[in-house]
Amino acid sequence: MLIFSVFKTLTDQRVTVELKNDLSITGVLKSVDQFLNIRLDSINVLDEARHPHMMAVKNCFIRGSVVRYVQLPAEHEDATRRGTKFSCNESFQYLPVILQR
């Protein structure tokens, strides 16, 4: 619930999602659900030359289970800290959240 809440506050922000198959995708976070599935709009694959597979794709749905990292804009560091203050026992088994500097 915790990370789900953080993502809900981040809709319409540009994030970078790194997947477990090493694919990195930048896009605007449009929606998230309880499984941490992510919908991204206006996507850009980071290493375009190596991954031309998604040339014709402008927005996508990413299954939560295949995400390794989600890189957030640095100014949202406080949103994640506020969450931990109230629910320290939350288990973070979904994914680590990396703050982009």
């Binding site: 198959n21 991954h51 014709a56």
Partner: protein
């Protein structure tokens, strides 16, 4: 609520956990993101030759095998010359 409703009846690209890329029209989906694709084709990428497209037809893909579902912009996809693309296949998922 992240939903696949917006992709129904559109051409989509499915990337699977073993690295396969499948293109087809999204006919249906469910809560576990199992997906039904009609008129589907697998696109096989290689460094030596252009993209090979294999016809598959009507497919049901299990949700736990799916990495990503991307909405294909038909205009851009038509403009792409598959025979000229050289790329490594996508890596399989490693947990």
């Amino acid at each position: 609520m992240s939903s696949l409703q917006g992709y129904v009846d559109r051409r989509v690209l499915l990337i699977l956990q073993d690295g396969r890329a499948i293109v087809g029209v999204l006919a249906g989906y469910d809560q576990k993101s199992n997906v039904v694709l009609s008129d589907s084709k697998e696109r096989i990428y290689s460094i030596d030759e252009g993209v090979e497209e294999v016809e598959l037809g009507l497919y049901l893909v299990k949700g736990d095998m799916i990495v990503l579902i991307g909405e294909i912009d038909e205009a851009i996809d038509q403009a792409v010359d598959l025979a000229s693309i050289r790329a490594e296949p996508i890596l399989p998922i490693r947990y």
